[in-house]
């Protein structure tokens, strides 16, 4: 059985008896214990929660660590941070922003170029909780149907948004961007903006499995491009231990990135170098035989 068919089986309408995916991680919990089988998931939720806690400490408790929101912020009145894709739309409208916004984007780009662009998607973005929930519900409800757009659509969409911004002179995606709407609703309030998050949940649940983050979202596409050569990566360092349970494919938001490094097809190295990998570490969690590790990009050894 080749890796692709494993991936298909675990993603599709999984038949009996093994039904991999539905119980993904159960074996890991049995072998490694609950904490080691869930630690990166817990850490990611903590990271996401603490980002928003830092933003909300100001308005709720009067402790101003960071002002603004994820589109642009100012930490301790010193460190500016700017979302690269939002700023790219502003630049596309040919408005030259103040230096602070440019510095903020440079800081963000430098950080994510190092740790992996889509670390934003899995460790910060609030919609990650929504789409993870949709993927979990799909596995539990055994919803195997659905069609996803091609994975390259997000890059085309990012480009099309910039072109549309240049033509209309407005930051086009910000009228509909569920990422910025959800994070703004969390930080500044606003009940109806949750409709955007609900729409993404239903899209992922009923229309396209792992559809939004993995195929449509141009914000994630921008971060993927930023992290194209990132240093921090996940690797199938101990691929000889793999017992083909396919739990990693079931939980991975971008399962196509695992196949090559895990199976070493075409002389592929152990490191998952695909820029779509979000460094979420969920594959490390659910692997009962500890195949995967966090490592640097240049590792070549595997056992």
């Amino acid at each position: 059985m080749n890796a692709a068919s494993i991936a298909n089986r675990s993603l599709g309408a999984a038949p009996t008896p093994a039904a991999p995916g539905q119980a993904a991680g159960r074996e890991a919990v049995r072998v490694k214990g609950w904490w080691r089988a869930n630690r990166f998931l817990v850490l990611r939720r903590l990271a996401q929660a603490s980002v928003f806690a830092a933003f909300l400490l100001g308005p709720w408790a009067g402790i101003w660590i960071v002002k603004g929101n994820l589109s642009a912020s100012l930490t301790l009145d010193v460190l500016p941070l700017t979302d690269p894709f939002v700023l790219a739309q502003v630049l596309a409208t040919r408005h030259l922003p103040e230096t602070r916004a440019l510095i903020g984007a440079a800081v963000v780009i430098a950080f994510y170029a190092l740790v992996g662009g889509r670390v934003f998607c899995s460790w910060v973005c609030p919609l990650n909780v929504v789409t993870d929930a949709a993927a979990w519900a799909r596995r539990r409800l055994r919803i195997g149907t659905g069609r996803v757009p091609r994975g390259t659509l997000r890059y085309w969409l990012a480009g099309a948004v910039l072109v549309a911004s240049a033509i209309t002179g407005q930051a086009v995606w910000e009228f509909v961007n569920p990422v910025s709407m959800t994070q703004r609703a969390l930080i500044f309030g606003g009940a109806l903006a949750w409709g955007a998050a609900a729409a993404v949940f239903l899209f992922d649940l009923l229309v396209a499995p792992r559809g939004w983050c993995g195929h449509v979202c141009p914000v994630g596409a921008t971060y993927a491009l930023i992290g194209h050569c990132s240093v921090l990566r996940v690797a199938a360092s101990h691929s000889s231990r793999c017992n083909d349970c396919a739990d990693c494919y079931a939980v991975c938001p971008e399962p196509q990135v695992i196949v090559g490094p895990l199976k070493g097809k075409g002389g592929a190295g152990p490191v998952i170098t695909d820029r779509a990998c979000t460094n979420c570490g969920r594959c490390i969690d659910v692997c009962s035989t500890d195949v995967f590790t966090f490592t640097h990009r240049l590792q070549t050894t595997r056992d």
């Binding site: 408005h95 757009p149 085309w156 549309a164 086009v172 509909v176």
Partner: protein
Amino acid sequence: MDLSRRTVLQAAASAGTAGLIASGAALLGRPALARPAQALRPPGAIAEEHFLGACLRCGLCVRDCPPGNLKLSTWGAGMARDVAIGTPYFEARQIPCEMCESIPCVKACPTGALDHSLTDINRARMGVAVLVDQENCLNFLGLRCDVCYRVCPVIDKAITLEKVSNPRSDRHAMLLPTVHAQDCTGCGKCEKSCVLERSAIKVLPLEIARGELGHHYRKGWEPGSRAGRPSFDLPVQRVPGQPVPGDLAPLRSGRPPYDPEAAASANAARASR
């Protein structure tokens, strides 16, 4: 690079889909251009069509607004429904702009959607106050309300009281609040403090409230307007410098013309010598 028919067609399909989604987003943004008249932008906001391209929707201006009158639009109920989502605005009748001298909201803006060249809050033009309902304004009814005039931060410049005779009694005065747009910042204090159930004076966006004079018009009585048009020297009157006997025209110095007594005494003095 793989340029087989298959990949080209797939790319074309993705590009087409992306184009459709992006234009859909742009179309959804169209109604946001029609911002409600009562939703005012913060001080220094650049023109609305550029503002929607320059604003990051980060809310840093909102956080640094001391009176807390700025809000980010949320698609919620009321006014916010029609303001582009995530962009800052305020409603004068709820909380007007306090016109902080340091203008913290403008300083907080990372992109210059609030123009950083605005350093004097008195030059802010968030809108312009218009006394829209003269039929209910108490001063127009002959009373001395004056509240909008009293609260105006630019009192006696942006709002003055103009005295006119009250035709109903024919012996009383009416003091009519009158806005002078060149000094009105659009802070909205007048609208906020109007004592009526619904304000008779309202701050409106400049593009709604103001007309625009044809650019070829020159107001000849304004010295600045004389620039660029031909000017002519005043005609020089040919008036005498020295008194001439029998002349009635004044001298160039403005002294009275010929004074016979002075001339007679001058002649007598010359003869005696």
